[in-house]
């Protein structure tokens, strides 16, 4: 028995110029339209997602269609570019259904490989930002087994799914059922989307209840399971980039604050006890970047190494984001505990992200299988 020791391809862990241009466009949009006070005001309203921001992000800059081929109405780019968008959305802790719609739902549909018909039509709508879709599985699900499939009787979908991220923002729900994957219009009769009170205010959760709702069958059982698996794999892999961006903001802001904040007649950032913590965090962020880039590149190139690259990125980056957000709150002192300082939004997002698409522990179990380090 031996573990795979050689990679099958050499990953490109840098950013291309085009990716940096994309980053600049997204960052500039978010600076204009979604700064911290705006995000805070939004999450306290009934509509955390700003439809105008989404249109600018998804349609005008064209980020929603990055993963979708051009012939289906998308940009024909790759997971590497989508990962850069997610870094920026993580940095801004932006309320937007990007990860759920433009990555997970889109990737699930793409995995069905349909050149035309309803799947292709829906992909075109998603790519151009005309519609938002959500895969109706719990946000914690890391595998299709955890997807709580609904039942189908005579073409009508029935079942309940808890903790679905961004269901309230979705026009279309992709519902795994015992009879394959169904697309159900969110406004259709027999569909109830009940918002929950989420820990992470910037990413709403809801319970989806289907009571004989009309739906369109997109795939049979086997293809549906494979497609959902791929959607969740891409979601977990690119979530690492969101976590990276989030952690980077937390570190940058903490460094900025501790340079300015004086106590004991000197900047608190000059105390070695604090400096070492921030330096340690920097090292974690640098390492998270390598792990997240590796996952994005593996997804983009279709590397056979992808499941391992994704599991490593998730097993590592979840902890870094939580650590960075916790240090951000602590090293900001009292101000870090207040509602008006955005640190809490990052802490809540980081903690929720650490459970999303599988915990670090769950991903380590996957690694144990993939590299043959079995449990006792």
């Amino acid at each position: 028995m031996s573990a795979p020791t050689e990679e099958t391809h050499a990953p490109d862990l840098l950013y291309s110029e085009a990716e940096e241009d994309l980053r600049a466009a997204v960052r500039s949009l978010l600076a204009d339209r979604s700064d911290a006070p705006t995000v805070l005001a939004r999450v306290e309203s009934d509509t955390p997602y700003d439809p105008h921001l989404w249109k600018a992000l998804a349609a005008d800059i064209g980020t929603a269609g990055l993963l979708v081929p051009e012939k289906l109405g998308g940009q024909g780019a790759s997971h590497r570019e989508a990962a850069v968008v997610l870094e920026e959305l993580g940095r801004g802790v932006t309320p937007a259904p990007y990860l759920t719609s433009a990555v997970v739902a889109t990737e699930t549909l793409l995995a069905l490989g349909a050149p035309d018909g309803p799947v292709a039509g829906l992909l075109g709508d998603l790519a151009e930002g005309r519609k938002v879709a959500a895969l109706a599985v719990p946000f914690t699900a890391s595998t299709p087994d955890a997807a709580q499939p609904s039942g189908v009787v005579a073409g009508r979908v029935t079942g309940a799914v808890t903790g679905v991220a961004d269901a309230a923002a979705a026009d279309v729900l992709l519902v795994p059922t015992t009879d394959g994957l169904y697309a159900v219009e969110a406004g259709a009769e027999g569909v109830a989307v009940e918002p929950l009170v989420p820990l992470d205010l910037t990413r709403p959760l809801a319970t989806v209840t289907l009571d004989g709702a009309a739906g369109t069958r997109l795939a049979d059982g086997a293809s549906a399971v494979a497609a959902v698996r791929r959607g969740l794999l891409a979601g977990a892999g690119l979530l690492a980039s969101e976590q990276l961006g989030l952690a980077e903001w937390c570190l940058t802001e903490t460094v900025r604050y501790t340079r300015e904040r004086h106590q004991f007649n000197r900047p608190v950032g000059s105390f070695q006890a604090l400096k070492h913590r921030m330096a340690q965090l920097w090292l974690e962020v640098v390492s998270a970047r390598a792990a997240a880039r590796n996952a994005a590149d593996a997804l983009a190139t279709g590397s056979p190494d992808t499941p391992l690259a994704v599991a490593v990125a998730q097993a590592y980056c979840s902890g870094v984001a939580v650590h960075a957000a916790e240090e951000c709150v602590q090293l900001h002192g009292g101000i870090g505990m207040t509602w008006e300082h955005p640190a809490h939004l990052y802490l809540k997002r980081a903690k929720a992200d650490s459970i999303a698409y599988g915990t670090a522990g769950r991903h380590r179990e996957t690694i144990a299988e993939l590299v043959e380090l079995p449990a006792p």
């Binding site: 573990a3 862990l13 840098l14 340079r259 000059s270 920097w282 640098v286 390598a290 449990a375």
Partner: protein
């Protein structure tokens, strides 16, 4: 003349191989010819082993030579010379010094060591007390150095010594090249935690160094030493490491081969460390890609920190995993290895040797300060030794 590109370097390498076929050429003879062809370190100036080519093109030459089975200069054995002495001599040496020292250094005919650390000046290196007093055309050096790798093998040493105790500690230091064969240089093995003596204490008693072997101006030794230290820190592995290529490899193998040793607690810790080792490997890969792309990042400063901690945790886990065997130690016989081998020998050795990883080449605490101040831009701690003459500092 424009700098040679990859095709040009490949052509020159082929010419070298044609003129000095590795099969029929002696090792030293081949290495000298390679140096003279400018293919030793291509980013060095012409005439000094290089061709003023981009540093990123060295792998082109190395790959061609490796494929042809050419001998190499065993960079591990002469690491201090290559990584630290050479860039400092290149940066601060006179033409005569460069001509005299670089070729035998690179070829490996002359081994170098570094006389920096002292018993009273480790992390606070600028506090050093070894004195160099001017006497005609010479400097007379007295003092003691410690933790000197390769001193027992070295022909030459880079040395920093205090030339003006009336100045604040950073300003009264000068930088010299010391002949290790001179009378007054005494090298004693320093036995360490593993039972081996990789390192030495070096006692300098009335050692006469001609002024022509000073590197850089009198009193500028600290600035010169910064070049050396920066090069020490960036000289981390150029080679691509395979997955499980580091210290995690032997533990993972033991885990796979000996199911009877497995426990749930060890499994959790092993997986966490496996992930961290894999991420550290990827971070190193990314760093190298940045260097090749001409976008060097500050990540190098962090890599040593990461590897030091990982090596310690992984080797500690390995001792526990081995259970009763972990109670044993291979061999306590005092020996003097020519090469340091972090991953060799048994788990107990690895555990003990890795304790040095967070001390040698800059302690982890100092490296964290460097990251905090130079990378993150955090303010320095207030200090009270900056404007005080060295001789007036409390000791």
């Amino acid at each position: 003349m424009t700098a040679p590109d990859a095709a040009e370097l490949r052509r020159r390498t082929q010419d070298l191989l044609a003129a000095h076929p590795p099969a029929t050429t002696g090792r030293t003879e081949f290495l000298k010819a390679r140096f003279d062809a400018g293919l030793a370190w291509v980013h060095y100036p012409a005439g000094l082993g290089g061709l003023d080519a981009p540093r990123s093109l060295q792998p082109v030459v190395d790959a061609e030579l490796a494929a042809a089975g050419a001998p190499d200069n065993d960079p591990r054995r002469i690491g201090i010379g290559l990584g630290m002495a050479a860039p400092t001599i290149l940066g601060y040496g006179t033409d005569e010094q460069k001509q005299r020292f670089l070729r035998p250094l690179w070829v490996g005919e002359e081994v170098w060591c570094q006389l920096f650390s002292e018993p009273g000046a480790g992390s606070d290196l600028a506090a050093l007390g070894t004195r160099a007093v001017r006497d005609g055309e010479d400097w007379v050096v007295d003092g003691q150095k410690v933790w000197t790798s390769s001193a027992h093998l070295a022909r030459w040493a880079i040395l920093i010594a205090r030339t003006d105790p009336d100045l604040p500690k950073h300003r009264g230091i000068s930088y010299f090249i010391c002949d290790m064969t001179d009378p007054g240089v005494e090298v004693r093995p320093l036995r360490q935690i593993t039972g081996e003596a990789e390192f030495n204490e070096v006692f300098l008693t009335g050692v006469r160094i001609p002024d022509s072997r000073r590197l850089g101006p009198v009193g500028e030794g600290w600035k010169v030493a910064q070049t050396t230290l920066m090069n020490e820190r960036v000289s981390i592995g150029g080679a691509r490491i395979p997955r499980e290529g580091g210290m995690i490899g032997p533990v993972a193998r033991t885990w796979r081969e000996r199911p009877e040793l497995r426990t749930h607690d060890l499994h959790q810790r092993l997986l966490t460390l496996w992930v961290e080792a894999e991420v550290a490997r990827l971070t190193g890969t990314r760093l190298r890609q940045q260097l090749v792309a001409g976008q060097p990042g500050p990540e190098g400063s962090g890599m040593k920190l990461a590897f030091a901690r990982l090596n310690q945790e992984i080797s500690g886990l390995e001792v526990e995993l081995l259970g009763e065997e972990g109670l044993l130690y291979g061999d306590w016989t005092m020996r003097r290895p020519e090469l340091v081998d972090f991953t060799g020998r048994d788990a107990g050795y690895r555990y003990l040797r890795s304790k040095g990883n967070s001390i040698e080449g800059g302690t982890s605490e100092v490296l964290l300060n460097i990251v905090a101040e130079r990378v993150l831009g955090l303010p320095a701690e207030p200090r009270n030794d900056k404007d005080v003459a060295w001789k007036d500092l409390a000791r």
